[in-house]
């Protein structure tokens, strides 16, 4: 017993010294690292959380910036798991952009900390609060990239931040930004074809509530089975209410999302069919995640266009067969 306590205390002492040593050591080297951050001669490293921010910025930044998105193009931010590489990515970042509005809920503290040493912007929070959508419990809907105008404003704020970080490239960014925004306006024009869908059938039924801004912009009624987050559990009444809406408005098609389990939306389809409404699966929409990098759907414009085309084909085509 005596030997025991001696050993025990010895080991504890050892652990303590180890801990203390580790603490001192690290905080010292840490500061050095921070100061060594900025280097103007090479490419600006931009890190974003979601690819919806990253991809447009990579176009606007052209060859002057290197853009990395923590959540790969097809990753649902609600279910994002950090990898070891993300540390390096964040550490090497010059400028960091994130969506904000609680989309990256568990990372907010981190960005606040990084803000002390790096240039960080929550682009979603630069938008006029009155333009944001809220649910019945007054929670903000963070999926603002589905409103092209709002997203343009948000990207604008991001580009301003970039210019501020690197004034010598300001004109280059401005030039690219104007070009990109033209494309956005073109995209906005293209979306007008949604208005060809009969108004009472402009109903977008999806698995989770990501399309609030989309609906507002394109005058569509949006019915989401799940809440804003993808983690919740639904009830039968949620499914039944959705089916009732479909039956009431004779909605011809519903949609699944790339990143969400399809089973609940399939239950809606079957239920509606059973009630004599021949409804079809309109196709896959990109909501929280975008398509695979390198493909058309892996870009913001391509992703948006894909959604518009899918919705248009499904609802317009469907309405034709109904008439």
């Amino acid at each position: 017993m005596i030997t025991f306590s001696k050993k025990f205390w010895g080991i504890i002492l050892l652990c303590c010294t180890f801990l203390l040593a580790a603490c001192n050591d690290k905080s010292a080297t840490n500061n050095e690292q921070k100061n060594a951050g900025k280097d103007n001669n090479k490419k600006i490293t931009v890190v974003t959380t979601i690819a919806q921010i990253g991809e447009p910025l990579s176009v606007i930044g052209g060859d002057r910036v290197e853009v990395k998105s923590l959540m790969g193009p097809s990753v649902d931010p609600h279910l994002y798991q950090a990898t070891h590489g993300d540390i390096q990515t964040l550490e090497n970042a010059d400028v960091v952009f994130y969506n904000g509005l609680h989309l990256e809920a568990n990372m907010v503290d981190i960005f606040e900390e990084i803000e002390k040493s790096k240039s960080v912007l929550a682009i979603g929070e630069t938008i006029d609060k009155s333009k944001l959508l809220h649910d019945e419990n007054n929670a903000v809907d963070p999926h603002i990239w589905f409103d092209i105008d709002l997203w343009q404003q948000a990207l604008d704020a991001a580009v301003d931040q970039l210019k501020e970080y690197s004034p010598e490239n300001a004109s280059y960014f401005e030039e690219n930004k104007v070009k990109y925004f033209e494309k956005l306006q073109q995209l906005k024009e293209d979306t007008k074809k949604l208005t060809e869908i009969p108004e009472e059938q402009r109903i977008l039924v999806t698995a989770h509530d990501a399309f609030g801004y989309f609906g507002r912009m394109h005058h569509m009624k949006v019915v989401g089975l799940q809440g804003l987050s993808t983690d919740g559990e639904i009830g039968i009444s949620d499914i039944q209410n959705t089916i009732d809406t479909i039956v009431k408005y004779k909605v011809p098609a519903v949609f699944v999302e790339s990143s969400i389990n399809e089973s609940s939306i399939k239950a809606v389809i079957e239920g509606a069919k059973k009630q004599g409404v021949p409804i079809q699966l309109g196709g896959e929409l990109f909501s929280d995640a975008m398509g695979k990098a390198g493909t058309e759907e892996g870009t913001y414009l391509g992703m948006y266009r894909h959604n518009i085309d899918t919705i248009y084909t499904a609802l317009k085509g469907g309405s034709n067969t109904n008439e």
Partner: protein
């Protein structure tokens, strides 16, 4: 409001959960006596790496492929738990906790890699976390098949199972194939778990496997009656839980079934005929009274302790 009960979705969910409740209640009684109540929880988590590996190998999100992966992974988990328990002095609950966390951690590792390397896979971990409310006609059939399988296997070998559970040594003396029965039992349990988690989620399947069996114990001392009562409790939890969640607006179905099962448990705990709190209290009181009335017992009582 009540018209919702006539809708086909409600009926599908009602039937599926009721039938799943019966199947889970039946196999749950076996698990209870094997003292493996938490096996469902452990194996449900152990299924994750299988799902991801199946996806990485075949690059499809096809239900059957992923379920097979989940089942294989869960069986390996069960095999490890059994191996650790029998070949070391580590106890079963520790082995379960280890396999649960290590397999799940491994699954998360793979999931992160899958997220990084190939597109269109997010929600893979959600894939094994089903939603009760979204069950459809085909689920009714799946659950029926499952229930038929489970119930018939248990019924056909009923007395063998009984010996297998209560007296392994005696069973082996009778020449029962204990290893084979272990395998059959594990396959039944894993099948129920894997089919269950993709349809209704981990928590609900764990609850349905555990709670009805424990509740049933409060009503009977006979194993046969316990299995039947447990199946009934499971089925009733599924049915009534679904009904309640259907009536309310936006009430999640799965959790209500769990709460219903828990309510049955509390009722059993309090009013149960065999070991219920009230019965025990009343018997204690009666004992005390008797002690006062009767002075010295002359005859030797015949009842055995416990």
């Amino acid at each position: 409001m009540w018209s919702i009960l006539l809708n086909s979705n409600t009926q599908w969910v009602l039937l599926s959960t009721a039938i799943l409740g019966i199947a889970a209640g039946t196999i749950g009684s076996l698990a209870y006596w094997k003292r493996q109540s938490l096996m469902s929880d452990a194996l449900a988590h152990a299924a994750l790496p299988g799902v991801i590996i199946a996806f990485l190998l075949f690059k499809v999100k096809h239900l059957f492929v992923l379920i097979t992966g989940a089942a294989i992974s869960a069986v390996i988990g069960a095999f490890f738990i059994q191996g650790i328990r029998s070949s070391t002095r580590i106890k079963e609950d520790t082995a379960m906790g280890m396999i649960l966390s290590i397999f799940y951690g491994f699954g998360i590792m793979l999931l992160t890699i899958a997220n990084r390397t190939s597109g269109n896979q997010s929600g893979l971990n959600n894939f094994i976390l089903g939603q009760s409310a979204s069950m459809v006609q085909s689920d009714v059939w799946t659950m029926s098949l499952l229930a038929i399988l489970v119930v018939s296997v248990v019924v056909i070998g009923f007395k063998e199972w009984k010996i297998y559970l209560f007296d392994r040594q005696f069973a082996s003396g009778l020449g029962l194939p204990l290893k084979g029965m272990d395998v059959v039992y594990t396959i039944l349990l894993v099948t129920t778990i894997v089919v269950g988690i993709q349809a209704v989620g981990v928590i609900l399947i764990a609850a349905l496997l555990i709670i009805p069996a424990v509740s049933a114990r409060y009503w009977t001392h006979s194993f046969q009656a316990m299995v039947i009562i447990s199946a009934l409790f499971g089925g009733a939890s599924g049915t009534i839980g679904t009904l309640i969640s259907a009536i309310g607006n936006g009430w999640p179905t799965g959790p209500f079934i769990v709460v219903l099962a828990a309510s049955f448990f509390i009722i059993s705990l309090i009013f149960g005929k065999e070991k219920g709190i009230l019965v025990q209290y009343w018997q204690m009181k009666r004992h005390k009274k008797q002690e006062i009335i009767q002075s010295i017992p002359t005859s030797v009582l015949k009842k055995e302790v416990q």
